[in-house]
């Protein structure tokens, strides 16, 4: 009994999700597969998609990836800045804002961006960046301030400058936590981007929103299935990267 336990644990660690979810996603994106699966359920008519599903998926992925890059470029320097000594007040402000961002509904943030930026992908991208910053900043602050003071003192004792300490000690030690924040941010943003379809951003929310308003459940099912698979795929892949980073440091 006890001998089988570690074996099962090791098998659970196999990244089967990182292969299964993208495979299912690709299968569903093959033309004709999804209608053939859903039409027998008698929920509504699913014909040819215009624009095709793979293009919606790519739009979705593009929005999420672009916002992810911007979030990292903005969030990481911000987190580094507010964790320097003497920046207590900005850190408290950043923490308050992060808490606020967790509370305010996504849909409200997206909708509030519309009067400022008009319709289309721009307000959605802004909403994705604002919402995506929350986990990245909070995790990066957590990771950077969690670095052992003794380690930093030792680095200083070795004659490292502040920059060297940041690059060679603090960031590598905080990397797993930061990557976990990025993973949360990206996975949430796949969900947020579906809501963005209501603002005309395109993406996989489009069939969901259209289906809900036309009472065509089959259409809803298409969008829901694909966006769920996309979220699971990205979660599994980023999980792999996160684990590798954890092993390296």
């Amino acid at each position: 009994m006890t001998a089988t336990l570690p074996a099962r644990k090791r098998r659970a660690r196999l990244p089967w999700g990182a292969l299964l979810w993208p495979a299912l996603l690709l299968l569903c994106l093959l033309p004709g597969v999804l209608p053939a699966l859903i039409n027998p359920l008698n929920l509504g008519e699913v014909g040819a998609f215009d624009p095709p599903l793979w293009r919606l998926t790519l739009t979705h992925l593009g929005l999420v990836a672009l916002s992810g890059v911007v979030v990292l470029a903005l969030g990481l320097p911000l987190a580094v800045a507010v964790t320097r000594p003497g920046w207590d007040a900005p850190r408290q402000l950043a923490e308050t804002l992060v808490g606020l961002g967790q509370t305010v509904p996504t849909f409200a943030i997206l909708a509030l961006a519309v009067p400022a930026l008009g319709f289309g992908w721009a307000p959605t991208l802004l909403g994705l960046i604002v919402y995506g910053l929350v986990p990245v900043v909070s995790n990066a602050v957590l990771g950077l301030s969690g670095v052992d003071r003794g380690v930093l003192d030792a680095a200083r004792g070795m004659g490292m400058t502040a920059w060297q300490r940041l690059w060679r000690v603090e960031l590598p030690l905080a990397r797993p936590v930061i990557l976990a924040g990025l993973r949360t941010s990206v996975v949430y943003n796949v969900g947020t981007a579906t809501v963005g379809a209501a603002l005309g951003a395109g993406g996989l929310g489009e069939p969901i929103i259209n289906g809900l308003s036309q009472q065509n459940t089959a259409l809803v099912l298409c969008g829901a299935l694909l966006s769920a698979l996309l979220a699971l795929t990205l979660d599994a892949w980023l999980g792999l990267i996160e684990r590798r980073a954890g092993q390296m440091s």
Partner: protein
């Protein structure tokens, strides 16, 4: 940080303050503040930072004044812009107002941080601002004009929003609490519950709403009697079902985590004292698990406020109705009318439940 706050305020004082449109959809013209007001606003923008150099304890005064000036000028300038205009004309806040209020908000927040033992000074602006709002000084601001036109319907939708959130939360607690207690006692079931809860959390909420509606509508198609009973893919019933299932996850997950987080040593000690199983449960496990558990209920409530806004899409009503109406007709005032109260509602619910958590934690901490 005060100098950082002065930047958006200076920009806001200079940028257009009011957008005047002949009706709520037409393009309009941007109006700046008169020079005298620009000067006053700019002085008040710099004053908090200058005060901060001399006396940090007094920053709250100019910061609060700047915030109130922004709100007051919003009312005054929108009213001035509408003088001599037709009934359909709308005067809305332009980028200047938002930037100025943002900067002033940061300044008041910083002022509160400078006085750790008197944090409440950061909220001194709230009563006068509410007085301006309720006293009708802001009555010509387009969002409130829109709100006045909607009037009772808006109150109704707010009520519907609260009803949706309340019933879904109540149902999920009713189902989730016994389920969590049952699952927490069984290691295998608890692991499965946590695994499923974590997996479902990665799914997009809109996709989940859609996936939950599909079986309901299939059921209604297959059994016509159910459709007559009101179960279908559209309306309050599917929205409520989907929301309940959605809120069930945090309630269940936090419940399992909280109950299993009670140290076994404490339970053993209680057993050693001769407590029966039900005494151990009610007097030891529940009080120790309750604060964490309430955290799950709070998460669920905050999530539900957001999901209820999306549920308007399937005809469930609520504040989301205005957001979608505004998005369809490109009327930003309608969007604000739905989105701002929804955001405030979420913050309010979060704050209230957080306070309850803290109070319970202190009380139970003392009792234990």
């Amino acid at each position: 940080m005060l100098w950082l706050a002065a930047l958006p305020m200076l920009a806001g004082a200079w940028l257009p303050w009011v957008l005047l449109r002949p009706n709520r959809l037409a393009p309009g013209e941007y109006l700046r503040l008169p020079p005298a007001w620009v000067a006053l606003a700019a002085v008040l923008a710099l004053l908090p930072a200058l005060t901060g150099q001399v006396r940090r304890g007094l920053v709250w005064l100019p910061a609060t004044l700047a915030l109130l000036l922004g709100v007051w000028l919003l009312g005054g300038r929108t009213a001035a812009a509408l003088v001599g205009q037709a009934d359909f004309a709308r005067a809305s806040a332009a980028s200047g107002v938002w930037l100025y209020l943002l900067g002033a908000g940061v300044a008041t927040y910083a002022a509160g941080l400078a006085l750790p033992e008197r944090r409440w000074v950061a909220w001194l602006w709230l009563p006068p601002a509410l007085a301006l709002l309720l006293g009708g000084h802001l009555a010509d601001w387009s969002v409130l004009v829109e709100g006045r036109n909607e009037g009772p319907r808006w109150v109704q939708e707010l009520g519907q929003h609260l009803r949706l959130v309340g019933s879904a939360l109540g149902l999920s607690v009713l189902i989730g609490v016994p389920l969590a207690v049952w699952a927490a006692g069984r290691a295998r079931v608890a692991d499965a519950v946590l695994g499923v809860a974590n997996a479902v959390q990665t799914l997009p909420s809109l996709a989940l709403l859609g996936l939950l509606i599909a079986p309901l509508s299939a059921l209604a198609n297959a059994v016509p009697a159910l459709r007559e009973a009101g179960i279908s893919g559209i309306g309050v019933a599917p929205a409520l079902t989907a929301m309940t299932l959605y809120a069930l996850l945090p309630v269940l997950r936090n419940g399992v985590v909280a109950l299993r987080g009670v140290p076994t040593g404490v339970i053993d000690a209680a057993r050693g004292m001769g407590m029966t199983a039900s005494q151990r449960f009610w007097r030891v496990q529940v009080p120790l698990a309750l604060p964490v558990w309430l955290g799950g209920v709070r998460q669920a409530a905050v999530l539900l406020v957001g999901v209820a806004a999306v549920a308007a899409l399937i005809g469930a009503g609520g504040l989301g109705t205005y957001i979608f109406k505004g998005l369809q007709s490109a009327a930003s005032d309608l969007i604000l009318l739905g989105a701002v109260p929804a955001a405030l509602l979420a913050i309010l619910v979060d704050g209230a439940l957080r306070a309850l958590e803290g109070w319970l934690g202190r009380r139970l901490g003392r009792a234990a």
